[in-house]
Symmetry: C2
Subunit: 155 residues, 2 copies
DNA sequence: GCGTAAGTTCAGAACGTATTGAACATTGGG
DNA sequence: CCCAATGTTCAATACGTTCTGAACTTACGC
């Protein structure tokens, strides 16, 4: 085949990730690191595998590393830096900060209209309460998942 | 003052919403509908209040209505259409579809590498399990919030 | 420590998308 | 019914962002 199934998967992942606000090229990198063998690859390898410029790859890897989605990994005796997905990469992409941001926006709105008892403040109050609820519960949910995972691998 | 606090709030909300992928103008509309008095407004009123073109307002209101974030409301004896926020507007913006989309992407990846037991499939399996977990639990969480809300307003 | 492979930076090209504004359609009170 | 107010459509434009490619810097195996 001309284009490997792995490459096609990475491209597809790129589209999905791009739909969530990530630049297409960076999404491709992440998609590639989800399924590539070996799991750790250098920038040059990824540029070749995905047909991306060195510039894109450099910027993308830095961004993904900063965001904690990928990590450098030692490859003694080989030139350059190698990267692999962090185990909890995609768990960071829950967007929980968004909920906080929303809740804060609602709080500011309530300030503006004069508190939750002001006329017409139900809109803001309900919404604020909802986001505050999610903001508090989502971390617990994630913790529950982690606990149950640990339970499995322990057995 | 030159620009009302309400208008400034709407602009601010626009920026926040724009950060989540919504066009700025549409975010402003939604922000305005969060704090305006009266709660229901016509497109013309909003265009004037926010300094937006009729074109933007028309497109924005249609999009927000389609997405279920705002709804038309009857205003007998007055020209044009009036809109207000839906009570559960912002609860729809949890982005739960994203989790499904992710989970599906992981499933396709697992297909590709030959199932969860294939070498190097831990990346995909853990991630898939996580998103499947959230996908299942988030609706329950939202339901819990609704129940507890109903409990309050009943009392 | 040399030479080359690897990675970084950055200016500009290419691209897409939001927004406007003007022409057009619709609607409902008088 | 009429016409002014309201809303819609769409072409043009302005805008920001991504991506590339070439020049440059860094680093490491030999």
């Amino acid at each position: 085949m001309d284009i490997s199934a792995e490459r096609r998967y990475a491209e597809e992942a790129g589209v999905v990730l791009a739909g969530m606000g990530m630049p297409l090229a960076y999404g491709k990198l992440l998609g590639w690191l989800l399924i590539c063998t070996p799991a750790a690859q250098s920038g040059t390898e990824m540029a070749a595998a995905l047909g991306l410029s060195k510039g894109s790859v450099s910027a993308g890897l830095r961004m993904l590393e900063t965001g904690g989605l990928i990590q450098r990994v030692a490859m003694p005796g080989r030139r350059g830096s190698f990267y692999e997905m962090t185990p909890d990469a995609m768990m960071r992409a829950t967007g929980s900060e968004k909920f906080t941001q929303f809740r804060e926006l609602m709080d500011r709105g309530l300030d503006l209209v004069g508190g939750g008892d002001a006329p017409g403040a139900e809109r803001l109050r309900t919404t604020r309460d909802f986001y505050a609820f999610i903001e508090a519960e989502l971390p617990k949910l994630i913790q529950r998942f982690k606990d149950q995972q640990r339970g499995r691998s322990d057995g």
